[in-house]
């Protein structure tokens, strides 16, 4: 056996043994041997692996659930925060739209100075059509000043305190506005009602009024500036033996959802009460 001590011989023997084993394995002669040795090993490995994974899952899973719950709570709070921000942004956008619209009205009517105000309430008595705004005499809002929106005429200031004012709407049953029917080029009176509907009165019989005719303030009487858009004629009523014809008007301003207004602060209403003869 001395020849095995030679390095070259050892190398050759190892190569031959490995080559032989490879040959036998590839030829399928070692399969029973594999089965006898590897199968128990694999079974044990599988058993151990399953137990280990179960143990690891048992140890680590509660942590993950807690972690996931925390992450979920965090994400939910972020979603809530983002939703709140979204709602705030939408509100700001709506306010900005109103401001831009009011600004647009101011640009198209540059001869007037405006004070923008927010509607903060309505008259308690359901018989009357008034709104409360958040600007008062401290902001230059005084009795009689006309109030408009970007769309058209709203009414006039009926009373003012330092930080708030009460506005009488043109829909109030005691409201009378002198108006001009643009297409017919004739003047009439716009009167309010209990139900908030507005109608035209004192239209001469000979005047041809059509539905859709534009109604503007005439400026007559000095209560409102001229040429402020009021609405459009909806229908015309002519009664027999009546001295004047009447018409129903669709106001351009939606008084049920009015949220911001402009007060024309450089318009001085003329008080004609002393000129009216007492009965």
């Amino acid at each position: 056996m001395k020849f095995l001590k030679n390095k070259y011989t050892q190398t050759i023997v190892i190569i031959l043994v490995v080559g032989g084993l490879l040959f036998l394995a590839l030829s399928g002669y070692l399969t029973p041997v594999y089965n006898m040795t590897l199968n128990p090993l694999l079974s044990f490995q599988s058993w151990l692996s399953v137990r280990y994974l179960s143990l690891r899952e048992f140890i680590t899973s509660p942590r993950e659930v807690t972690e996931l719950r925390e992450q979920n709570a965090l994400l939910e709070s972020q979603v809530t925060q983002l939703q709140t921000e979204l709602i705030e942004m939408e509100e700001r956008l709506a306010e900005a739209d109103i401001c831009f619209a009011l600004l647009d009205f101011g640009r198209t009517n540059p001869e007037y100075d405006y004070v923008a105000a927010t509607v903060i309430g309505r008259e308690i008595s359901p018989f009357m059509q008034y709104i409360l705004i958040d600007k008062g005499s401290d902001d230059g809002v005084l009795y009689g000043m006309p109030v408009v929106t970007q769309q058209g005429l709203v009414g006039h200031v009926d009373a003012a305190i330092a930080s708030a004012a009460r506005v009488k709407l043109i829909t109030d049953s005691t409201s009378v506005v002198n108006v001009l029917l643009q297409s017919a080029d004739t003047e009439a009176q716009l009167v309010g009602s209990l139900t908030g509907d507005v109608s035209l009165d004192m239209i001469p019989l000979e005047v041809n009024v059509e539905p859709g005719d534009v109604v503007l303030t005439s400026g007559l009487g000095g209560n409102y500036p001229p040429n402020v858009f009021v609405g459009q004629v909806l229908s015309v009523q002519q009664r027999e033996n009546a001295l004047f014809q009447t018409a129903t008007v669709q106001p351009i301003v939606d008084f049920s959802s009015i949220s911001a207004v402009l007060v024309i602060v450089n318009f001085e209403a003329v008080d004609t009460t002393p000129l009216i003869p007492e009965e």
Binding site: G121, E123, I124, F127, R166, T174, L194
Partner: protein
């Protein structure tokens, strides 16, 4: 104790007034609106052991007349009438307070709105009775009846908290 009751009543009236102008007056049915101040006063005066409800009705009337376009005396007498009706009925229907609340709401709403209508007509406002009945008085009364029960429950709870519980001997 009395001071606390007055304080609570004043604060509640203020809250009712703010809610009225900011919310209830902006949510009409036809042209009628619920009157939260009226409901509060009616419910308050129906509670056992509550005193000076007429005083608070007067104060509420004055508070409302400051902001309302109505003649100043109209809300004052209107709310006094509400509490007067409430006090009258409290003695007659004392065993069924919720029923009393509904009857008081019905009668006082009618009384107040008709009173307002008469005042406005006297002052020259062109309002017809029929239109007022259809568009304002009936819807307002209906809304008041709808809100009567929750308002009564809230006021009853408030009064129960500020009033010391009676001990049976």
């Amino acid at each position: 104790m009395i001071l606390l009751a007055h304080l609570v009543c004043a604060l509640s009236l203020l809250v009712a007034y703010i809610l009225q102008t900011a919310v209830f007056s902006q949510t009409p049915m036809l042209n009628g609106t619920a009157d939260l101040v009226l409901l509060f006063l009616a419910a308050w005066s129906l509670q056992d052991g509550v005193e000076n409800s007429l005083l608070w009705a007067g104060i509420a009337g004055l508070l409302i007349s400051i902001v309302s376009a109505m003649p100043f005396y109209a809300p004052f007498f209107g709310y006094l009438g509400v509490v007067g009706i409430s006090k009258l009925l409290q003695r007659k229907v004392w065993r069924a307070p919720i029923l009393a609340m509904f009857i008081v709401t019905l009668l006082s709403s009618f009384f107040q709105l008709v009173f307002y209508l008469i005042v406005l007509q006297v002052n020259g406002t062109p309002i017809s009775w029929r239109e007022s009945l259809d568009a304002v008085i009936l819807p307002s009364t209906l809304l008041n009846l709808i809100f009567a029960l929750p308002v009564y429950a809230i006021v009853n709870d408030i009064v129960g908290r500020i009033r010391p519980s009676e001990v049976e001997v």
